[in-house]
Symmetry: C4
Subunit: 210 residues, 4 copies
């Protein structure tokens, strides 16, 4: 007998569909914060060059959020590749994760507008933290309820946990640096994202970030 | 002989594609209402903290609409998982449902801006009502025209109907509470959404919300 | 030997993916024109009711464009269901079609803002015309180059042509009515869309709109 | 034993999903720059005709960016059709490419607003250049790491390289023309895009653009 919303492979496919959709939109929305200079304020080539150059902080936060989205897209994908099926609760945890993905354009915009304030850095970090926590919660749920694919051994399961925790520790260090200077904080987090996104093979680095 | 738009499995797949797309966009658009404070109005950390704290009602309506979208995404998915094929009319009913999904960012925005007015609560409730009615209509159509998958028995069919009706009754109670206070109304609906989204296993609750 | 962009079933799948994406976004963007009233202008329940009621023309054009998108989504789908593979040119024609789908939120907005001007109606009709022409061109291209699926006979091919032409004739009549009154024009087109979207089975109507 | 994010066919499918999503959104966002004239400034049919006609430069840059997106969508698709699987780095290169796709609405808007300034043309060209470079990098990576599908011979591999390089040479010539006049530059690039998008079969042209 067929019942609604039983754990199924199709439910898993739908989660993939909505996830890629939300990421695609978030990736495009963070660009909207890079606003074209007002036409009235520009009267010469030099003024336009200056106006475009003045957008530098927005390009910086764009790059930062772009890398963040990249990293979490891979994080979600790495998990999902190891999950064989999805029930309603796992899908709900995934949607909570997407809810924080959808908030990233807001955090990014706040950061771009208030790069000199610690509060903006902390809100951004909180967003990173919630992304990690929801990812952790869905991995734990899939693990405990036997939704993992065949062939996923204890070591792999542990690796997934560790990666999330290690990244969060690095970002927490980054956030703490805003006690020194908000810009240092952003710079540190940006470097961390670059390292993750590039997925460097350097053995030492591998050992640190797992 | 092949004819255009016959009931088919491919038509069903297209409906899934556009549904996940509209939900993904709606999920991301409701965030756009959380607007970053204007730079001119903020001169210190404390002012920024105050400005972010002042966004609280918008975070509240964001959470509310996020939960609503989650619940209806599952609702559509629960139905669609039990439907074997789709003809043009069933797809049209599904698109009407999506039309009200697309309206949710508007209702949410109205609610966030006018949380103290009954009219805003009623418009939001009307949106919930139309979402339920279009879902009910497509289930009825699929049921009457033999589009349900094999193995869907009478009890399951009835469960789907009952769930929609029960949720609508709870939201109607919530909407009626705005006679007392619009905020009480929103609070009640938010609690209902939380219970549905969490899909609690508590037997008593299960009996009430089916 | 494998060559880039040969006619293939995968190319056909990609076209479906981007089509559903553009339609989903267009469906959601046309709602953005229904703007929430400014908070400063509203001081009581009655003023909010009046402000929401004043949005009526926008709800009207929303409904109109929603129906238009529905009809063309089915139109594209009806064609694509009869096409077995897609080469680069067929995909380009499809993208041109999507280009005019993407323009529909603009035409809708213009119409909502200038409902009393003939120019707005004509721009909207031009959009409908271009949607039909690009659809016609891709059907013709698929037909002439042997991309149609097996089992598509001459009668079905002709039916697809006729449907597009008949709809265009009805819209042209609607557009011509703006010589009498722009609102009459919009009303006529809205009724035509309703009939198409509802896909009525009335035999007389069937004979007229094919 | 299953490990996260190994090169797989599913990873390849996810890249296709997010790519079509970002392109669909970019295609729709570039339209948002065609803004409906303010209602206060229009009092007659003639004023509305004039106001719509004044949007001509925006329709021009819309057409330009629409063609650019079309060409790069095919470029990505041509590559992806020849790639059998994707690992995390190839996916990262693809996301970088998408990052520049997402920037195109910004470059388009800048160009539409400052069509008379060389700086705007150069920013637009830089965007085209980065799109080409990221596409080149991912092709090179797939080629060097044995991710190409069976049956892709050396000639096809070379053809893909050559196409990217030839297009970049043409756009560089176009960008250089802005020393004469920015509008000439835009016109030249627009003609190049038209030729590519139409995929003309003219043998002479074929020889030049490969």
């Amino acid at each position: 007998m067929k019942r609604p919303l039983e754990p199924s492979a199709e439910g898993r496919g739908r989660v993939v569909g909505i996830t890629d959709g939300v990421f695609a939109i978030a990736l495009t929305l963070i660009v909207l914060e890079i606003r074209v200079p007002a036409h009235e304020t520009v009267h010469s080539e030099n003024e336009l060059i200056a106006a475009v150059a003045a957008l530098a902080p927005r390009f910086l936060t764009y790059a930062l959020s772009f890398l963040t989205l990249t990293i979490f897209w891979f994080g979600q994908q790495a998990q999902h590749g190891l999950v064989a099926k999805s029930d309603r609760r796992l899908a709900t945890l995934n949607l909570c994760f997407l809810g924080f993905v959808a908030l990233l354009p807001f955090s990014t915009d706040l950061l771009a507008d208030f790069l000199e304030f610690r509060t903006a850095v902390l809100v951004y970090w909180l967003n990173l933290l919630m992304l990690g926590l929801t990812l952790l919660a869905s991995w734990r749920y899939a693990d405990k309820n036997g939704f993992l694919a065949e062939g996923v051994d204890a070591e792999t399961t542990r690796t997934v946990y560790l990666r999330i925790v290690k990244a969060q520790i690095l970002w927490a260090i980054g956030a703490a640096l805003c006690l020194v200077s908000p810009l240092l904080s952003v710079g540190f987090i940006l470097v961390v994202q670059l390292i993750y996104a590039a997925a460097l093979r350097a053995p030492l680095l591998r050992k640190i970030i797992g």
